[in-house]
Amino acid sequence: MEEGELIKSAKSGDNRAFAMLFQLNYSFLVKYLMKVTMNPDTAEELAQETMARCMEKIHLYQGKSKFSSWLISIATNLYIDQQRKKKREKNWQQQEEIYRKLKWQIKSRNEEWTDALSALGKLADDVRIPIILKHYYGYSYDEIGEMMKLSSGTIKSRVHNGILGVRKELRLNG
C-alpha cells in the first residue's frame, strides 16, 4: 500500500495503517531527533510521543507537505515545548553531558566525532534545530518558519548566528 493510501486509511481509524506508517517513518524520525537532541534516549522517547501526537492530530494533516516533514514538525515542537518546561541551564558542561552517549556510540563504530558536532551540540536548541533543518535536510527558511511557528527572518538570523557560533567555537578549540 502506498503512503497516501495508508494516510487515508489511518484517518478513517485503521490501526494497521497507523502502525505501517509509523514503522516506515520510525528510523527517519529517530535519526532526525538524534541530530536535534544529540541524545539517543531522548530521541527514542520523543519519537514515541510524536507518534502518539500524530494519532491525535492526523485529521489536521492535509498532505501539503510530505508525511515525514509533518512528523518532524510535530517532533520539533514537542522537543521545544519539553525544553521550555525544563528550563534547564545551558552551560557548556551540561551540554557536554547531553551528547556524551551519542558521541560514544559513534566512536564505538570507529567513526570520528567531529569538533563541528561538538560545537553544534553546544548551541541552544532553538538555534541548532533550524541549522539542521536548513543545512542537512534542505528545507527553506519559509518551511522551517512554518514548522517552528516563527518568521522566516527570525529563522534566517538564527541560522546565520548559529553558524557564526560554531565557527567561533571551532576557532577557540583549533
Binding site: L102, I106, T114, L120, L164, V166
Partner: protein, 115 residues
C-alpha cells in the same frame, strides 16, 4: 525561481562559513550513517497504536464529563444570578470582559517579545 530564491537565501554566506557548513553537514551525515537505530517489529507498532487509542478514548470520556459538569455548574450559576440577583449577574459579565481583554493583551505582548 527556486534557485533564485535559494541564491537570495544564501547571499550572506562567505567562504569561511561555507567550510563550517560543510563540516556541520559532514558531522550530521556521520550521525545519520552510524548512530544505531533499531526499528521495532510490526506487532510493537500495532500494540502501541492500540494502547494509544485506548488512552485517547479514556481521555475523551474524561474531558467530556468534566466539560459537562463545569458547563452545568456555570449555567445554573448564571441562571440563578440572572433571576435572583441581577446586579451580581451584570457585575460578573463586566469582570469576564475585563479578564478576557487582559488575558489576550498579555498573550499578544508575550508573543511579540518571543519573536
Amino acid at each position: 525561481m527556486d534557485k533564485q530564491k535559494e541564491g537570495m537565501e544564501n547571499d550572506y554566506i562567505d567562504e569561511s562559513l561555507l567550510t563550517i557548513i560543510k563540516e556541520i553537514e559532514g558531522g550530521l551525515e556521520s550521525v545519520e550513517q552510524h548512530a544505531p537505530v533499531y526499528t521495532p517489529n510490526f506487532e510493537w507498532f500495532e500494540n502501541m497504536v492500540a494502547e494509544k487509542k485506548k488512552q485517547l478514548r479514556k481521555k475523551l470520556i474524561f474531558d467530556v464529563s468534566i466539560f459537562s459538569i463545569v458547563a452545568l455548574l456555570v449555567l445554573s450559576t448564571v441562571l440563578f444570578t440572572l433571576y435572583n440577583i441581577p446586579t451580581i449577574f451584570f457585575a460578573l459579565q463586566g469582570l469576564a470582559v475585563i479578564f478576557l481583554i487582559g488575558y489576550f493583551s498579555l498573550r499578544l505582548i508575550k508573543q511579540v517579545k518571543e519573536t
